[in-house]
Symmetry: C2
Subunit: 142 residues, 2 copies
Amino acid sequence: MRIGTFAARSGLSPDTIRYYERIGLMPPPPRDTAGRRSYGADELAWASFLCKLQVMDMPIRDRLAYGRLRAEGDATVGDRLAILELHRANLVKRQAEIADCVAVLDAKIDHYRRLEPARETATDEQGSTHDDGRGGRRPRRR
Amino acid sequence: MRIGTFAARSGLSPDTIRYYERIGLMPPPPRDTAGRRSYGADELAWASFLCKLQVMDMPIRDRLAYGRLRAEGDATVGDRLAILELHRANLVKRQAEIADCVAVLDAKIDHYRRLEPARETATDEQGSTHDDGRGGRRPRRR
DNA sequence: GCTTGACTTGGAGCGCGCTCCAGCCGGTAC
DNA sequence: GTACCGGCTGGAGCGCGCTCCAAGTCAAGC
């Protein structure tokens, strides 16, 4: 399979794939007679996993570290495991942060809805108070 | 309160605060006799909220749009509400993505643990299989 | 009076992670 | 044959969001 197909299937772009190859994140694939990169299905799994790591915001240097270990073979399984576990912990932390942000947002949205119940009901009716930033300092209900 | 204190309390850095002021994300505060920025507690709430928006990865252009609406006053509450709701939806989507990534990671971690139960138990015992990327293609259990 | 330290400014620099480009080549379809 | 497409290379460029810097000012403490 050539780079275009490979890109489409892995979720990366051809440019990104070549970039990954340049920085050593993906091994240089064999070439066809015309000198074009030729990928097999097994490479696809690694590329997809890399794409996943990208989606989860793993810094490229960490992906690189992981890739290097992978290239070194089975002896590095323990190290790889450590990286994955560390990153999993980060993800969980991130989940908590996001949940917190959603809560803040909900409070603010709720506050605005009260200021302007217009939105999908009527046109407008009140207005003033000039809030924002003061949205947190409200009756002690949580 | 001067910029150092203000920064510490809001969660932003002095440089970031000045940067936000430059791009119009925060209003220029009054100055003391020496020409130094002088903030009040009310500004703090807005700065903290901005910090929150930053934590939740709201692009700076969106923060800017929100800030401009806020500056325009109460007539824009509806628009602001829309922005917040949109971003809330993004956060929820992101939560789902992360949950998915955690699942992928867990599968892989589990797989590695089986390859190498050594880690905190013994030294090693098996090894080979040379996986990675193939971690997804496993007995159909989810 | 002098030192210290927090502040001021405008502007340069940076790390990330791609992304795009020019200019070229080879294979395939009509 | 020729048009077109998709790929090749090396390197430049970019958008983001700060972050850092030099050189200067001011106020307070010793």
